[in-house]
Subunit: 336 residues, 2 copies
């Protein structure tokens, strides 16, 4: 291993939309290992909406990215060198690591990954954090139950696509919105949602919701925020629940968009509950047991959108924020 | 009883702020009683913020007022005539009746009232619907617990004043906002709130909240909506709860004011839950038992603002909407 390391550093804090100037690519020597440390060869990197929040200076739920340091994200990799007795060379792991070919780690927070249960990359998606987010948000926060109408925005994405499929498994009516006709067709024809609409071409968000959810909405799994939230509020049914997972439409705005219709929460005795998946790791075993079964039985389908090469990680991140990906956005950093 | 009846009819649906043109006063003959009916001589009438919502045509949680019919509200009165074996002449009752001197009723929804437990008028306030609203909203919806910081807007009002006092009884820090310095002094000096501010004269709502809730807010009992809600959101603590009881600042606006800071719900894993007291009548016995005890022990103080004469009910309603009342707004219609 005479290789050098390649890293993507956080170079400039963006205002508004992120562009390439936020990133800087550097070549560095591979680090030496101290006792207890391992060197992970990173194979897949996940780029996710919440990372935009970590680029801001403001209080957020995850610590901000540090300027001049590698950005961080979910990674699946393989132990390349180990001076830690608990982690063997050759073993596959997942964890929060850097945007870099090799990461130094003391082993804390690294989870063993079993390639027998599913492809390695699934541990960054349907078997990982996005899948758990869908599971916890729909079932624990949204308390979806048989017969409910569940609406999810960004429904073709890594989280939304799983939300709708779990909703169907649980006997709910599943409805989604997405930003292209291809994605809308994918949601209904391949994933089995009962209805979906293109939020960019609908006459209005309100009419899209009226047509696809004529009897109102029991659970809204909120990924986007802003005008979509405002359109959903008056359509909530009695004791409706909004599981607030993210607000991707708002992350790149210098000032968030207004919401006007909160009084609907009063009229419908409804609720909004914000949640972060990292508060719910205790649900991981139940989730992995359920989800690996659903995947085996073909009840959950999953799509990935993989870009090749660490140097393309900024481009992958930017296209994901713009909704140009189709399926879970990943970056492949090296061979499996 | 050769008296005539006096009634206040709903004459015109207001747009924006309510004025006298919404009301019409008429003299009508006293009705004859059919079998099973009673005639109630109304003594006190309650005017409350939610009535503004019932004046609109839109979907709301209570049925709209009908044009040409008497407005309705909470009333305490005395059975003047009875052809109902369950209700005796001379007995005191409370219920939803008309804005009128005498109301015809089939007895359904009339609750007996015990003048020994408190003044008759208290059954329209601290021992009635506003008191139960405070109790349910703070304890069941807001889940306030010892050590929490509880902030309540409209804190000198019929609901808010009780919220803060129950919060103190439960070991919380109680903070309120109100619209005059007199009300602010009343909240802290007489009711025992830990802090309060005048939302009209504070540098900003944000600075008022920063000074009075320096460690953030665990429970916000929301009575006003709009900019106050927006100022509270970023100050919510981890897993903070907003019990959404009303939005009085919004009822007279043709378009509600915007709220921008909902992403704070995500950052703080916080929630907003709308509620309506009429869903919670099952809590009435526990509430009356607790509250009559607290009143006897002097732990809850209560203030009323009584206008005399049914003909002044519209004026009482209008001043209550403007926040010009000080204490629970009542109209006295007749002698006890």
């Amino acid at each position: 291993m005479t290789e050098k390391n390649l890293q993507i550093l956080f170079a400039n804090r963006p205002k508004g939309w992120v562009d390439q100037s936020a990133f800087e690519q550097v070549e560095t020597p591979l680090p030496d290992l101290a006792d207890g440390q391992v060197l992970v060869r990173n194979i897949y990197l996940s780029v996710d909406p919440y990372m935009r929040g970590r680029m801001n200076d403001a209080k957020s739920y995850a610590a901000g990215f540090e300027l001049g340091q590698p950005l961080q994200g979910g990674v699946v990799g393989q132990i390349a060198k180990s001076r830690n007795p608990d982690l063997q060379e050759g073993q596959y792991v997942s964890g929060m690591l850097g945007w870099e070919r090799y990461s130094l780690s003391d082993g804390k927070g690294l989870q063993p990954v079993d390639p027998a249960l599913g492809p390695l990359s699934y541990y960054l998606g349907v078997l990982g954090m996005p899948g758990l987010t869908a599971y916890v948000g729909l079932l624990d926060i949204g308390k979806a139950k048989e017969g409910d109408t569940v609406f999810v925005s960004a429904a073709s994405g890594a989280v939304g696509s799983v939300v709708g499929q779990i909703a169907k498994i649980k006997g709910c009516r599943a409805v989604g919105s997405a930003g292209t006709d291809d994605k809308v067709a994918y949601i209904t024809d391949e994933l089995g949602f009962d209805a979906a609409f293109n939020y960019k071409t609908a006459d209005s968000l309100g009419s899209g919701l009226r047509e696809t959810c004529p009897d109102g909405i029991d659970v809204y799994f909120e990924n986007v925020g802003g005008p979509m939230l405002d359109a959903v509020l008056p359509r909530l049914r009695y004791q409706g629940r909004i599981a607030l997972c993210g607000m991707i439409s708002q992350y790149n705005l210098e000032r968030p968009e207004p919401v006007y219709n909160l009084i609907s929460l009063l009229v419908s005795r409804a609720s909004i509950q914000g949640f972060i998946v990292s508060d719910h790791w205790d649900r991981l075993p139940a989730f992995v047991a359920d989800m690996s079964g659903w995947l085996r039985e073909g009840k959950v389908k999953y799509r990935e959108d993989v870009m090749d090469g660490l140097e393309n990680a900024p481009a992958a991140f930017i296209r994901m924020l713009k909704g140009e990906n189709f399926g879970k956005q990943l970056v492949k950093l090296g061979e499996e």
